[in-house]
Amino acid sequence: MVKIETSPQQVTSRKLTVSKAMVEGIAQEMERDPSVIVLGEDVGAYGGIFSSTTGLLERFGPGRILDTPISETAFIGLGTGAAVEGMRPIVELMFVDFFGVAMDQIYNHMAKIHYESGGNVLVPMVLMTAVGGGYSDGAQHSQCLWGTFAHLPGMKVVVPSSPADAKGLMISAIRDENPVVYMFHKGVMGLPWMTKSTHALGDVPEESYTVPIGKAAITRSGTDVTVVTLSLSVHHSLDVADELAKEGIECEVVDLRSLVPLDRATVLESVAKTGRLVVVDEDYQSFGLSGEIAAIIAEEDPRLLRCPMKRVCVPDTPIPYARSLEQATLPTPTRIAAAIRDVMA
């Protein structure tokens, strides 16, 4: 799952949260490569609103860790221009929901320059951004939107769920010659001020390593039903799988980890094995990831499924504020378990 650059004997790991693992990955790359910089709103003294840059200012100074004005268009574009000139900027968009004020720089510039230049210009940039709901932040601060980014050509899209992947995918993203959108769910970060997920803490090797972009992970093997999912929904799906195992239902949980490129082969192999499919996606249901997974099966061999698939997504509605309403829209363990029982019935 992780590609360690040192020999296995040397590997030492300890438990880190996703946020600490991300920061460690950034710091190790900054030590290795002076062209890596971090910029965005509150990434300096504050350390990132969701602790994605904690301690970096103290270590690397204001010349490489740059607080920007609230001008996403200007500073995301600045990242693109710096990348074109050979730097490796990590630009934080504080909430993915804010993409609306700067999308032109993202999808028309960052993502297209390499293609428009016939491959002559590289844009080795990471756009990292916080996604997801579950803490009553309302319709403009709770979305995932990874399907939107994955739909538009020219950006790789990675969505880690575990601490080890968070570090290894970050290092891969920084080293990638292409723009990579790195989407971290606030709920996987292990923040002390948010509902804890036990899966937010995990073993992380101390050494520098990469996790390949475009390779899904089987986070739990099972024979009865394939659960294709990502991000915080991986945590929920693993918890649900533990519960359902007690009833004799063996779930195989596929953590996609990357949407672009998408590991179609792993999805197909798993569904070929189990014959049943549930897609759990905290993005809006229609025209997105869950439909794309369905299309993979339909285009390859619809007979892989012995019964109709189920989708557990955010219904096509803005994310509501009231806790009762928000929980009704999110892919909660209750909804995931119900969908799995449905396909097993």
């Binding site: 001008s71 995301i76 574009g77 028309n108 293609y115 230049s117 491959g119 002559n120």
Partner: protein, 324 residues
Amino acid sequence: MENSTRLDLYRQMVLIRTFEETILREYHADKAPIWDIGAGLIPGEMHLSAGQEPVAVAVCANLTPDDAVTATHRPHHFAIAHGMSLERLAAEIYGREDGLGRGRGGHMHLFDPSIHFSCSGIIAEGYPPALGQAFAFKSKGSQAVAVAVTGEGAANQGAFHESLNLAAAWRLPVVFVIEDNDWAISVPRSLSTSVASNAERAKAYGIPGERIEDNSLEDIFAAAKRAVDRARSGGGPTLLEVHTLRLWGHFEGDAQGYRPDLDGVAQRDPLPAYEMHLRALGVADDDVIKGAVTEAQARVEAAISFAKSSPIPEPSSATRYVFS
């Protein structure tokens, strides 16, 4: 200004005008008798820069190939003035494999990393990437600067204002250039803009602003020199607005029925005016002028011929270069 510089910039303007006139002719040649924007050897929108040559040659005369230029949807004059290969520019316009973008970009999306040249087809959105180029130059300790170009219509776009503020706050080596050609497609600046001169807007960001009237090559050159010197010496950004002239339509096929100043446009053409200026100074005579035109025609002809003989991209290669 040295006479040799005057002559050099005049020759560059002739080259640009010859290039644009040739593209104009070629563009329309195979769109008859029925005009179809997608037909012919050069399909798509075509925004030509005739009339705006003084801005490009006078600004770029202060630059080296190490300096960056981000241009607009109307980019040919800046591309040529900054030293882009005419052959590869023409091949991109013709959508060929030898084009700068192997036919993936087109005339609004020209990228030449050898001279740090890029374009944006989206109004004002070339400004933010220029900040990043300037940031990279500054970080590396290089003396290079980034020049970001837009039209006057773009000065009402958020990206413009965000960029001026950020460049000023971080004291980046950027020169912002506004080409005020009076028209945002069909909307006159009087209807769109709250100030008489966009240079006034520089005050809001605590940076110098200067407006240059009459499309004056020598005034532009002097102002650009001040701005480039300031940026190179760590003095931060400058905003320049040049009152220039859109000699032709916004794009080819634009009948310009909205334009009351059309009758007087030819009299405002900066090329014959500068030619007269050089004659008056004794810098150019018939031979010099004829020589400039002949040389330009030969270079443009060679570029067009190179473009036309370059391979058409293989349809099966359409998905190449999405990722490296």
